[in-house]
Each structure stands twice: as structure tokens, then as C-alpha cells.
Symmetry: C2
Subunit: 515 residues, 2 copies
């Protein structure tokens, strides 16, 4: 990246002055990303893994992958030893896997507040909100096209959400802003309304460049050159096709040492075989090809192996979520990613329900639990996803974000020290007693149990007298409460000014484009 992006005066590189100022801002309670102290769930045995790996290499070699309208990519592949036939790249057995070895097994994504940095990979799990919905829904306003005002509200909720580690990217599509300019407003919202790490734009290579430049303003160009400050989402056009727009964004980010998620986006039965093993094979082939390509662009560029997989309802053709097939694929891809020594993205609070109702609860919980036990390192869509990703729901955002606390607690495993063993308590209470008054209970009760901040634990009578509200209504009140309490994290005024100037200049340089 050229070092010429606007930047404010700073005492030195790395955003030190801005960062010192941040430290004076009153802090919300926010927890560190999850580090698992529990094993992963492994659904495939060694034999199954080897079959899938062998088959994926066969796919790459025999069938190949397509890089349409991207001659530079074809040149890179040819030079690396692949056979090119039109835009089809046939990758010799073992080549892609070997190229993936330069991608780091783990990387730090920096936030403008250093205590919000996240390390993605290993035993860690970083939680980020919903990405991509064109619609929003809330209890009062119903379902409607999303606006930049909705977008900002989601960023604020994400900033306020204790268990959420990442501000995400396109938390909803601000459809009231021109398609060629909305990325600027989205980035600015993440940078100014939150201090958690964020994602860059991928919808055109030039928008990826804008994302890098705005990050240089926020962090300093030197800092961005030496550090990863964005993790961005590159979807594969499954099956086996890497379109030039997404690859163009990937190239920008890889060259700038910024991280990408290389993510097959698969509706099983439509974009992959209807079987779990067949889909795993295709996902692995696509991930190998895409991540290998990133390493051809820049060896060492941080990459996440992604898998967004849903089933299809063979009656209606609709994608379905929280299904057992998706769960099995999530577990399987996790094993394949760990054997590649790569960070893994999957899961999220996925559901097909149109409302934050029981269906949403079941479907979401199935996927969140699978993501935790399946070893996911970066969990996009962890909160707010509704209606197959068409809708970002304010109520579901806060319900899901609350549920994420459960993942933290399970991941912590079982405390086995003397206090955890609690033998003194068992001795103190004895047969027929109760523990409410025990010394051990008093010493531990505040931290002993995870407690929801939204779900209703009151007795029936109290709950009924206060209106017999369901979870959606309780969440609607929580959204209002959080927004009322929101305080913008401090941002160096010079940085803010420079960001605004960049956005104005870029917006003025192009006519609005819609669609």
C-alpha cells in the first residue's frame, strides 16, 4: 500500500497518541475472546479424513477450479506448476496443500483500543455479528430495507455487547446510500462508533483499497503495513469458481498483509453434493485452491479457512439452518482446517425463522453449540441473523449476544482446584442439609453461574403480572435500554477529521451508483 493516505499528525506511528487518549475513556465491560479449555468434537475418524483429503486433491487435479477473467491469477498458477486450460486451473496433487503452509496458523487482528485486539486461530474463538442482510426487523417497525441509521444502531449494540469481540462488517446493507459509496460510511461507523476490530469491504477491489486507506488513517500507515487490522470476507462462487471481483479484493488485502476469510458459500444440494462427505470434499478443494492462491499473491498473508454451509429444503428450495447436515459439515471442516494448521471460520447464530421465536432459538442454538465444539476460531453471524440472513434483527442481536456468554462459560471447562472440588462444602452441609448458607457458596455465588441479561428467570406470577412478555418483547426493551446507555468511545479528533475528509473526497469523486 502506498504510504500517501491522509493521516493526522501523530506523536509517532502506531496510533500511540490516539490510543493513549482512548485509555482515558470510561470503559464498558467487555470480555476477552474465548480461549478453549475443552477438547474439540471430532465427528470424522482418520480414515474418513484421509478419503476426503485424497478426493479433494483429485478434484483439484482432475476437475480443476475456475478463475474467470483473471489472467494475472492464471499466470501465478502457471508459474507455481498448475496446468491452465482456458480459465480452468488444474492443480497437481499436493501443490495447493503445500502452498497453504506459508499461511500463519494464528494471527492478531489489531483494534484501535489494544485491549480489544483479537488473536484468531489455535484454541481461540472470536465472535462477530451478522453480515450482509438487506433488511432489518424490529418489534415496532417490522421488516423493512436497512438504512445507514440501522447500521449505526447495530454497531452501537455490538460495541455495548459484553460477549461480542468484533464489530463485524456489513452488519446490514445501508440501502439508502449509493452502492459505490456505502462502504465508506460503513467503515466510518465501525471506526468511530466502536473500538472493536472490524472487517473491510470486498464488493470491488477499489473498495478494499478504500478500506486499507481508511485503516491507515485510523492506525497510521506504518502500523497497518506491519500489522493486520482487518479480517475481510471472501466468498467462493461455489462450485469451484473464484470470481474476479472477490479475487480482486483478496489480492488487495493479501498484498497489504490484511487477513481474509476464504469461504465457500454453499447451499448443499444446489452448490455442492447432497451428501456430507461430498460437500466436505468440495469445501476442502475450494479452500485449498483459494488459500493457496492468496499465498501466491503474498506468502504469509493471514487467511482463515471458512465454511458457510446450509442445507436446502427439497420441498420449497429454501435454504435451511440449524440442520443436522450443516452441523456435521461444520464439525468435519473444523477437523480438515486443523490438519491444515489454519484458523477456521464457520457457524454463527444461523436460522431460517422469520421471527425471533422458538424456531429461531432452536436453530440458532444448534449452530452456536456446534461452532463452539467444532473448533471455530472466527464465528461470523454470531448475533442478529434472522430469516436465512435476509434480515438483521435488533431483538435477535441482543438475545444472541447474551447467549454468547454461554459459549464463554462452557469453553472455560471445569475448575479442578481445591475451590472447584468443594469438599469442604460437602463436609459442611452433609446429608439432608442445603448449600445456600454454606461458606463455600457465599464465597463463590457471584461468579459460579452464568446468568442471562435478557431471559426471564422470574416466578410465573411475577412474570404474568408484568405483562407475560415473550423473549422478543423482553429483547425489544433491552435494545432500547442499550441504545439509551450508549456512549461513543473517544476518537482522536484529528483522526476523525481525516477520516471524514477522506470519505468526502472519495464520495465527491464518483457519481452515485445504485445496484
Amino acid at each position: 500500500m502506498p504510504d500517501t493516505a491522509e493521516k493526522p499528525k501523530r506523536a509517532r506511528g502506531g496510533g500511540g497518541a490516539a490510543r493513549r487518549a482512548e485509555r482515558l475513556t470510561p470503559r464498558l465491560e467487555a470480555v476477552k475472546y474465548i480461549t478453549r479449555n475443552i477438547p474439540n468434537f471430532e465427528i470424522l475418524n482418520e480414515e474418513a479424513l484421509e478419503i476426503i483429503e485424497t478426493n479433494a486433491e483429485t478434484v483439484l487435479e482432475e476437475i480443476g477450479v475456475s478463475f474467470p477473467e483473471n489472467p494475472a491469477a492464471l499466470d501465478l498458477w502457471r508459474d507455481a506448476g498448475a496446468t491452465i486450460d482456458g480459465d480452468r486451473v488444474h492443480i497437481p496433487r499436493g501443490l495447493a496443500r503445500n502452498l497453504c503452509k506459508t499461511a500463519p496458523s494464528s494471527y492478531v487482528q489489531h483494534a484501535r483500543s489494544p485491549e480489544r485486539n483479537v488473536e484468531i486461530g489455535g484454541k481461540n474463538m472470536v465472535l462477530a455479528p451478522v453480515y450482509g442482510p438487506p433488511f432489518v426487523r424490529d418489534y415496532v417497525g417490522g421488516r423493512r430495507y436497512a438504512t445507514i441509521a440501522d447500521f449505526r444502531k447495530f454497531v452501537k449494540l455490538g460495541y455495548m455487547s459484553k460477549w461480542l469481540h468484533h464489530s463485524g462488517g456489513t452488519v446490514c446493507e445501508p440501502t439508502d446510500i449509493a452502492v459505490n459509496k456505502r462502504h465508506l460510511d460503513m467503515l466510518y461507523a465501525h471506526m468511530s462508533l466502536s473500538d472493536k476490530p472490524y472487517m473491510g469491504s470486498v464488493t470491488e477491489p477499489v473498495r478494499a483499497e478504500d478500506s486499507v486507506k481508511m485503516s491507515e488513517i485510523l492506525f497510521g500507515a506504518d502500523f497497518v503495513r506491519d500489522n493486520t487490522v482487518m479480517t475481510s470476507l471472501i466468498n467462493v462462487n461455489s462450485p469451484l469458481t473464484f470470481d474476479n471481483v472477490m479475487m480482486g479484493a483478496l489480492e488487495v488485502y493479501a498484498k497489504a498483509n490484511q487477513a481474509c476469510i476464504l469461504s465457500p458459500f454453499i447451499v448443499g444440494g444446489a452448490m455442492s453434493p447432497v451428501t456430507v462427505a461430498g460437500t466436505l470434499t468440495q469445501v476442502l478443494a475450494e479452500a485449498l485452491a483459494g488459500i493457496a492462491y492468496s499465498q501466491l499473491v503474498r506468502p504469509g498473508a493471514p487467511m482463515i479457512m471458512g465454511a458457510f454451509v446450509t442445507s436446502i429444503d427439497m420441498n420449497s428450495g429454501a435454504p435451511t439452518f440449524g440442520t443436522p447436515e450443516a452441523t456435521k459439515i461444520l464439525y468435519g471442516v473444523g477437523q480438515l482446517a486443523r490438519r491444515l494448521n489454519l484458523p477456521y471460520r464457520s457457524g454463527g447464530g444461523l436460522c431460517g425463522s422469520k421471527l425471533p421465536d422458538a424456531q429461531a432459538g432452536y436453530e440458532t442454538a444448534h449452530t452456536l453449540n456446534a461452532a463452539l465444539l467444532g473448533g471455530v476460531n472466527f464465528c461470523l453471524h454470531a448475533c442478529g441473523w434472522l430469516e436465512g440472513g435476509l434480515v438483521a434483527s435488533f431483538e435477535k442481536f441482543v438475545i444472541d449476544a447474551d447467549q454468547l456468554g454461554i459459549l464463554h462459560s462452557i469453553a472455560a471447562g471445569v475448575e479442578m482446584d481445591e475451590n472447584g472440588q468443594a469438599m469442604d462444602a460437602i463436609r459442611e452441609v452433609g446429608p439432608g442439609g442445603h448449600y445456600l448458607g454454606a461458606a463455600h457458596t457465599h464465597a463463590n455465588f457471584k461468579s459460579a453461574f452464568w446468568r442471562s441479561g435478557i431471559l426471564d428467570y422470574r416466578p410465573f406470577e411475577t412474570w404474568e403480572e408484568s405483562g407475560a412478555q415473550n423473549t422478543m418483547k423482553l429483547a425489544a426493551a433491552k435494545v432500547d435500554e442499550m441504545i439509551a446507555q450508549y456512549q461513543q468511545p473517544q476518537l482522536d479528533p484529528a483522526v476523525d477529521e481525516a477520516l471524514r475528509a477522506y470519505i468526502t473526497r472519495r464520495k465527491d469523486s464518483e457519481a452515485d451508483a445504485f445496484g
Copy 2:
């Protein structure tokens, strides 16, 4: 058991004639119990397991357990080598574990239709409905005391539920029938309205005897003597107390070779320490003592090691469900049970929510997923549980029962044969194609994906035009549909007559007692 219970004329023992008649009845679709083709999730390492096992032995030896008002039990314990102090039994290290060795690792519970038999233990998972609620709730009638009419309706729904393997026991408390007589009507409902296996009464030893005698009428006394036809629920009065009513029922069942679940019923923080490891220690100590006692009564009596554990909300004192602490305990007890080579009962569709709403969905799904991966062999409360078990919900019964299909599909694991690998499909479709028309898709689509029978998969517009119903409303319609389609499974009229005669005689022999 004496062989004098009323029984109809039969061609021979074992209920052969009745069973042959059953085979002529048109059959509902019902699937076999789950046999896991996936690993268990193990949250504790070897060191942690050994600490907990050592501590549990210390509890049994030093603190001991209480068998109040049960001198015969104290005699059995004394003869086995325990030290008795008042009603306190101090069990020398290793004795209880050794006694547990005669309990089978797996047993068949017979149903009156042999194809409904279930094998409990090993890699199997048998799903049974909610047990115990004094209230019911439905969409139209709201929350109210349960009646025998409600009870019968739940038994019918259980019979109609494809993924449910067991008819259960007290699916709700029929509060309109005298306390000392309702067990007769409950058993008769299970025996006549369903042909799935059922549970016996445990609220007084004499009611356990009635359960055995009615089973002798249904199956034939010879058959019951030689086979297990009931699995009944014996709760421990935690901490460490085995009350004489529950033990009296256990004694009846063990002597009759009928199975019991020995289940600590624990609200963590009240009836056990607030820590996971402390609760695991107490659960193990209680299970060891209770199951060892069953083997003193009759070596070889089939027993299930149970754990019903919930957390407490330290703000309100309410029990909470679907919490991470309960999940960790479920996983841990599963490991401890497997090391004892005993079948394991835990889990269920547990929730604290007052409605079948999003809260219910999240909480229920957390526990059902944990039960599947935690190796549960007998999952009581798998459907219908609401409001911390105070309420049996008709809508939640059918929503949960539908969700149980997911557990079957995950448990089946990943098909790795040639069809599962689907390489021909990947070759056929190639980069940029789609699989909807592929030969492999056509050959597999009917069975490829689990499909809910209740959740809404329609496009938004279709759903909205048809009333924008949430899951609760969709489920209410499903309840009505199932009840309308219900057909009673055939029962030998002579058996039916004998059961009715037994009930009439028993009811006439006592005055009604309430409470």
C-alpha cells in the same frame, strides 16, 4: 412378585396372542431408538476424573449417606460391610463401586409391541417425554392444572411422535384424580393409548406394586418375571439422602427385576456445591450409593445412573435451565457413568421459559445437544417440558418432538461409502454448475436432508400472507392435526378388560386421598 395378578387367557406366556394381534394393526411411522455412530464429547481429562472419583469415595466413607426410616436398608448395608451410625451409612472406599458391578451395562425394556422395544445403554439413546408437571399449557387454554384428559392427550401425542421411543411416565399430574389412585389411570393410559414402553409409579411402594401387577396383566406374569418392562424414576433427596418412600419403590422394582433410574435431583448451589466439580463429586457419590443399594436388594437389577442437574439464579433463587454449568455437569456425569459401565440418564428439552418462545428454544436446544454428545442413554423430558418443569406444554411437546429428529441424524454420523463421497456428482457438475439437476442429487434428495415437520421454511411473502405465524401457533395447529389423526393401537380385549377390572377393584378398595 406373586404370580396371582389377574391375567387374561392367553395361548402361552409372553403375551404372544396379544402381540400377534398388534401386528395386524396399521402402524404409524416410528423410528428405532438412536444408536450413536459418533464419539462422545469428553470435557474432563483423566486426572480430573480420578480426582472426582477419589473425592466421591471420600464422601461415602467419611460423610456417609442417610437412609432414614429404613431399618431393612441399614441391615443390608451393615451386612455388606458398611458402618452404620443412626441412619447414616458410611461406605468403605471401593465397596459401592464394587457392588455396582452386578448392574448390567445395558438392558432391553420390552414394549407390548416388540418392535417398540428399546435397549438402554451402550451407544444407544432412548427418548422419553416430559415427566411430572402439575400444570399444562396450550395456546388456546393458557396455563391450568393438568387433568387426566390432558394426560391422555399427551400419551396420544407421544404415540404419534415419530422420533419419540418411549411413552414416559407422569407426562403431567392428573390433578383431578385422587393422589392414591391416579397412578392406575396413568398406567392404563400408557398401556391402552400407546404401545411404546412406559414407566412405573414411584410415589409409594404400593403404587410400584400396582405398576408391576398391571404390567403382569399386560405382558403375562411369566414374561414380567423374566424381562424388564418398566423403567421408573427414583430421585435421590440430595444431598446424600435416600428417603424411604423412594427406596421403597426402588425395592419393589429391583426385586421384580424392573429397571430404575437412580437420579440425584439437584439444583446446584442449593442441593449441591456451586461448583461443577463439587456437584459432580456429590452426584457420583449419590449414584454409587443408590445403585449399590439396588444391587444389595437384588444383584443384577437393571439400573440407570441419572443426573438431573440445574443451576440456580442467585438473584431470584429460581432454577435455571440450558445453562453452561448444567451442560458441563451433563458431560462430566456421562464420563463417570461410562467408567462405571452403567447406562446414563440426563438431559431433556429443559427450559425455564414460561412460553414456547425464543428462550425456550435456546435453552432446550442447549440441553438436547449436550445430551446427544454427552452420551446420554435415556433422555427423559425430551419433549414438552416448559417453565422449569412446572408446565407440560402441548405446543412445546410437538416442537421438541420434531427437533428430536435432528439428534437421530447427527448420531448417524457421516456416510463415507461411494455414494456419500459423491465424486461422480462433483465431476458431473464441475466449476460454476449447479447440483439440483445432477443424477446423484436426484438419487439422494429424498433422504439427504432432515426436514422439520413444523418449522416454517416458506419464503417470507408466503409466510406473511398466511398469517405471519410464529412457531407456537404453527405448533398449535400441529397438535390439533395429530390428535385428529390419532388411532388407538389395538389391544387384546381380554387384556383390556382385565386391566379395567384391576383398576376398578383397586380404586374401590381405598377412599380417595388428595395431597
